[in-house]
Amino acid sequence: MSDAVLTLSHLHKSFGALQATHDVSLDLKAGEIHALIGPNGAGKSTLIGQITGHLMPDRGEVRLAGENITALSVAQRARRGLGRSFQVSSLADSLSVLRNVMIAVQGLQGHSFHFWKPVHRDASLVEPARAAIARMQLESRAETPVSELSHGERRQVEVACALALKPRALLLDEPMAGLGPEGSARLTELLEELKHEVPILLIEHDMDAVFRLADRISVLVAGQVIAHGVSDEIRANPLVREAYLGD
């Protein structure tokens, strides 16, 4: 698998007696959307956390573009090209949407020890941030404090922040939740277009969106990958139907 951008091998993670991740290996290839599905508490978010460094795996390895990043910090991994959105949005609520996204642009550019030039007059920060916001169709909310946004909008800001990082791999944790049918449809379209720029590991409960978008699907149950394949295989897989699709 030479074209894998992101490779997880044999990841393990326990919280006390709870095995949240059990021997998970999967990869993300250029140009694809790889969906990660599974029931509540299956360990999907925990897995993303181990990829981005918010959680440390007990065992196993994470590689980004061939480099072993398992021991790196969150910030170091982000600088190497991991962009993520959080299931429970993690933004600065009192700041505007624009300010939240601008921090990602600042991180991408890599110089935060500039003490003099005001950021609000810095076009090299403001313009890419506005572009990412426009991509999520949040232009009209750019100056709004995040605290005044709906849950759906907050998740979109999360995605905008991740996009502003110009990542090599994009990890989205339930980006459709709270969007409503119209918003989901629009985001689905966007992701379809986006995957040609950056491969996406997508956690999503909206099965219509998953089956429409995913090139490959992995099914996680109780910390283990119980099935893996292209959409039609997964749809037909009896184990999956029983464990997850609920028939």
């Binding site: 009192s94 939240n100 600042q106 890599g110 030039k117 609000h120 169709q137 119209e182």
Partner: protein
């Protein structure tokens, strides 16, 4: 869910900068207070009331110390209970240097010979550098922790330095060190109370301007995010720790310079400048004025010094009144005095 409001279409994405904050009521209050601090000693001086000139100088210096601490607490979310270490170190640099200049003995004779000096520019530079180095050490260790641990460890460091000063007889130990002749600024007569006030006032204005500018910069944006949501900052590829550490150092340098001025104002430096009471006092001023408001320390220091002077003269229990006011501020006026004067809480 329609997101395209009227007007959204004619906004070219990318072309519009973030709007400049409007000049608000708070700005007028800030300038009024600053103007008051500048004018009052001038009038007092004209009336020959030197006491009040020195009182204003004291307010300016204490404000500056709190401006430094406010950068750590208010903007960086780092609740340092050890800023007296920097205030005192700045003071001791001024005191020790003046002591050797008076004695005509060297401060250091090995490995290099370093004579004492009464040149304020040199003293300030040394005071700021010393505070930067000390803050780098204290910060590097303390910032590994957070919350209550951070408060306690900064306190512990400051106490260590306090006891060190008390037990070091060369520089007066418990008795402290007098500065017989006020240190000199090239071309100015620092012994003139109004001149010395103006020097301190200029230093304060500079500290305020630097803080304001800093907080609008990339560094300020990162520091703000470190306070509001550390995870978001890290997720954006910016490590919070070095950002905080640098902010802590800048904060210490500002407070340290205030300490150097304070020693010269009083003509004396003693271990009390390093004590935890002093750390607490600076923190109280920050809270009184309104945490994280640029000019908060000014109103906080005015209130504090005036209470100390007026009530402190009337009753030994003035700290009780201070405590009550503090309680009131914490419970009912989260924005501090600036919150009361300028209305609604700070908006970022």
């Amino acid at each position: 869910m329609t997101r395209l409001h009227k007007g959204a279409l004619d906004k070219t994405p990318g072309a519009t900068p973030v709007p400049m904050p409007r000049i608000q009521r708070e700005t007028w209050v800030n300038w009024a207070l600053l103007g008051l601090l500048l004018l009052a000693p001038m009038i007092a001086n004209a009336l020959g009331e030197v006491y009040y000139v020195n009182l204003a100088t004291r307010i300016a210096i204490v404000t500056m110390a709190a401006v430094g601490l406010n950068l750590a607490i208010g903007y960086g979310g780092m609740i340092s209970f050890g800023h007296a270490a920097f205030f005192g170190l700045g003071g001791y640099v001024a005191g020790i240097s003046a002591f050797h200049a008076f004695d005509m003995t060297p401060v250091l004779s090995w490995p290099i010979t370093m004579p004492g000096t009464d040149n304020l520019l040199v003293i300030w530079l040394v005071a700021m550098l010393s505070c930067a180095v000390l803050a780098l050490v204290i910060g590097a260790i303390s910032l590994r922790t957070s919350g209550v641990y951070f408060i306690m460890i900064t306190l512990a460091f400051a106490q260590m330095i306090y006891y060190f000063a008390v037990s070091w007889p060369t520089y007066g130990g418990e008795d402290g060190l007098p500065i017989y002749l006020r240190n000199q600024f090239p071309g100015l007569d620092t012994n003139d109370p109004l001149t010395f006030f103006l020097i301190c006032f200029a230093a304060l204005v500079l500290a305020l301007a630097i803080t304001a500018r800093l907080m609008q910069s990339r560094f300020g944006a990162a520091l703000t995010m470190a306070r509001l949501n550390e995870t978001r900052l890290a997720t954006a590829g910016i490590a919070p720790y070095p950002i905080r550490l640098v902010a802590f150092v800048i904060s210490a340098v500002i407070t340290g310079l205030a300490g150097a001025l304070f020693a010269d104002l009083n003509g004396f430096v003693g271990a009390s400048m390093l004590s935890w009471h002093r750390s607490g006092e600076i923190m109280v001023i920050v809270i009184l004025g309104g945490v994280g408001r640029l000019y908060g320390p000014l109103s906080g220091a005015m209130l504090f010094v005036l209470m100390e002077t007026l009530l402190g003269g009337l009753t030994e229990y003035w700290l009780l009144f201070l405590g009550l006011i503090l309680l009131f501020v914490v419970l009912f006026a989260r924005g501090g005095v600036m919150g009361l004067l300028a209305g609604r809480a700070r908006h970022e």
